[in-house]
């Protein structure tokens, strides 16, 4: 009633429109203040609900949305992948190398259909070699592909992979690729999982310099591109690592989130602050985060899922 009076006095009868105007609105198409207030409060409640610890109601929503959107992402990524790799194929076709890569690609896609992809197997076996030489520790891997990348506008380094709880992937499992450590699983849906990359500023990884066994903590610097860097803070501030020293993870075996002995990167620079005696060791990650494709999730041995699992000895089940 109040709204009607207001409109009557404000606009006059002559400007009334018979359609599309709710009685409480004093101007057509413009949202009432109460709606604006309600939506702002809804945003605030979402932020408050999600700001606390994990496992809240928002995580349930996330997983629900992921279950719906994840398969769509997988399908779209699969449809787009040939187009994305097309320029390389065309450019190389003039040379003999082109034939080789085309055959390799054909080979890979054919083998992928029977889920025993020797291309993946070769890359993952290479990774196995790296992990086992670092420490006599066999790991079982679930192969997966990256199907979604968060844009830089959201200022966090996360990706979606196409393996989820159906494939045996659980939160807080280590994600690696042929070159080294990629990150850890944040949450999963049935068919997808969200991975926090080690270059994300929220990511902290226990690191060990392979040559001297010194311990430290690696934290991400954010940028994903060619300039991706990690900062290593050594526990013993007096030690100065050499340039080119390899940094491995020293995580606890079995307890997660990071398994031990995965190569992370090489020391490139050491900055020393004379004033407070602190050191900043810059580590160049082995993994090229701008071109992530095939990754492996470290799962407990004997895991069964909807796809082949690469066992520690390189066999595929």
């Amino acid at each position: 009633m109040k709204g009607l009076t207001r409109r009557g006095s404000g606009l006059g009868i002559g400007t009334r429109r018979p359609w599309g105007t709710a009685p409480h609105e004093d101007r057509p198409g413009r949202p009432p203040g109460s709606l604006l207030l309600a939506l702002v409060l809804a945003c605030a409640s979402l932020m408050v609900l999600d700001h606390g610890a994990d496992g809240g109601p928002v995580d349930a929503l996330r997983s629900g949305v992921g279950t719906v959107v994840g398969p769509a992402q997988s399908v779209t990524a699969a449809a787009v992948r040939p187009l994305v790799t097309l320029p390389d194929t065309v450019r190389d076709r003039r040379t003999l190398q082109a034939q080789l890569s085309a055959l390799e690609e054909e080979n890979a896609s054919l083998r992928e259909q029977v889920r025993t992809d020797p291309y993946d197997r070769e890359r993952l076996a290479r990774l196995e070699g790296l992990t086992t030489t670092a420490r006599d520790l066999g790991q079982t891997l679930v192969p997966a592909r990256v199907v979604g990348l968060g844009p830089a506008q959201s200022f966090s380094a996360t990706v979606t992979i196409d393996a989820g709880s159906d494939a045996g992937v659980q939160p807080d499992q280590t994600v690696v690729d042929a070159d080294g450590l990629v990150g850890r699983v944040l949450r999963t849906t049935a068919t997808t999982a969200t991975v926090l990359l080690v270059v994300d500023p929220d990511s902290t990884v226990g690191g060990r310099i392979a040559e001297t066994m010194e311990l430290g903590f690696l934290s991400g610097r954010g940028n994903l591109g060619g300039g991706a860097r990690l900062d290593l803070e050594l526990v013993d501030q007096r030690l100065v690592p050499d340039r080119g020293d390899t940094v491995l993870t020293w995580g606890s075996s079995g307890a997660g989130p990071y398994v031990a002995g995965v190569p992370v990167g090489a020391v490139t620079r050491v900055y020393e602050s004379l004033r407070d005696g602190s050191k900043r060791v810059v580590v160049d990650p082995f993994v090229d985060f701008s071109e992530l494709d095939v990754v492996g999730v470290v799962v407990p041995s004997g895991t069964r899922g909807d796809r082949g699992v690469v066992e520690a000895d390189g066999s595929i089940r």
């Binding site: 359609w19 599309g20 609105e25 101007r27 057509p28 198409g29 413009r30 949202p31 009432p32 709606l35 604006l36 939506l39 702002v40 809804a42 945003c43 605030a44 409640s45 979402l46 932020m47 609900l49 999600d50 700001h51 928002v58 929503l61 996330r62 629900g64 949305v65 992921g66 959107v69 994840g70 769509a72 992402q73 779209t76 990524a77 787009v80 199907v147 979604g148 990348l149 968060g150 844009p151 830089a152 506008q153 959201s154 200022f155 966090s156 380094a157 996360t158 990706v159 979606t160 944040l186 997808t192 969200t194 991975v195 994300d200 500023p201 929220d202 954010g222 940028n223 994903l224 701008s290």
Partner: protein, 178 residues
């Protein structure tokens, strides 16, 4: 009324398609990691076509989806707030433009302003909540936001006509707001 429902469905489909394309396809077209924000452009298009009320509601809903769909990991509600404001502002601009007539340059300017507004609000809520992620100082932030504005303006000619046509065909008599 059925026209309204059809328009709502069209807007929902547009937002969903934009969301999937944005996470799966656009990273391949990204420049220094910054990809065009398709969802934001769709929200602006809806708001320009249907006014501030619809723009606000669709912006909020699209924002919640962006907040929850993988691989998002920020505090939920940040994009919801940002896109809701974008929908409201674009809708209010549409009211003024309806009186003065429209132009391509005007539309692009609205998209640029809304892209700047949306990214800035998102980044600022991140700073307020301590969820800033990879924000690398004000200069880095402005660089990312500015790149986003340029890319959003570039994809507008591809997205805007599709969304506008889809919404207008559903309910032709929605014209003549003023």
């Amino acid at each position: 009324m059925s026209g309204r429902v059809a328009a709502a469905v069209a807007a929902g489909v547009a937002v969903l398609v934009a969301l999937v394309l944005q996470t799966s396809v656009l990273p391949h077209l990204a420049w220094h990691g910054v990809a065009p924000d398709l969802v934001l452009v769709v929200v602006v298009a809806v708001a320009l076509t249907r006014g501030a009320h619809t723009g606000t509601v669709v912006g909020f809903a699209a924002g919640v989806l962006v907040d929850l769909a993988p691989p998002a990991d920020h505090v939920a509600g940040r994009w919801a707030l940002a896109l809701m404001l974008v929908g409201y502002v674009a809708g209010r601009v549409a009211e003024d433009r309806a009186a003065r007539g429209t132009g391509v340059l005007g539309t692009l300017a609205v998209v640029a302003a809304c892209s700047f507004l949306g990214s800035s609000v998102f980044a600022l809520t991140g700073l307020l909540l301590g969820d800033a992620g990879t924000v690398d100082g004000i200069a880095g932030l402005l660089g990312v936001v500015a790149t986003g504005v340029v890319l959003d303006v570039l994809v507008t000619p591809l997205v805007m006509p599709l969304v506008t046509r889809a919404l207008e065909r559903r309910e032709p008599e929605r014209l003549a707001v003023r």
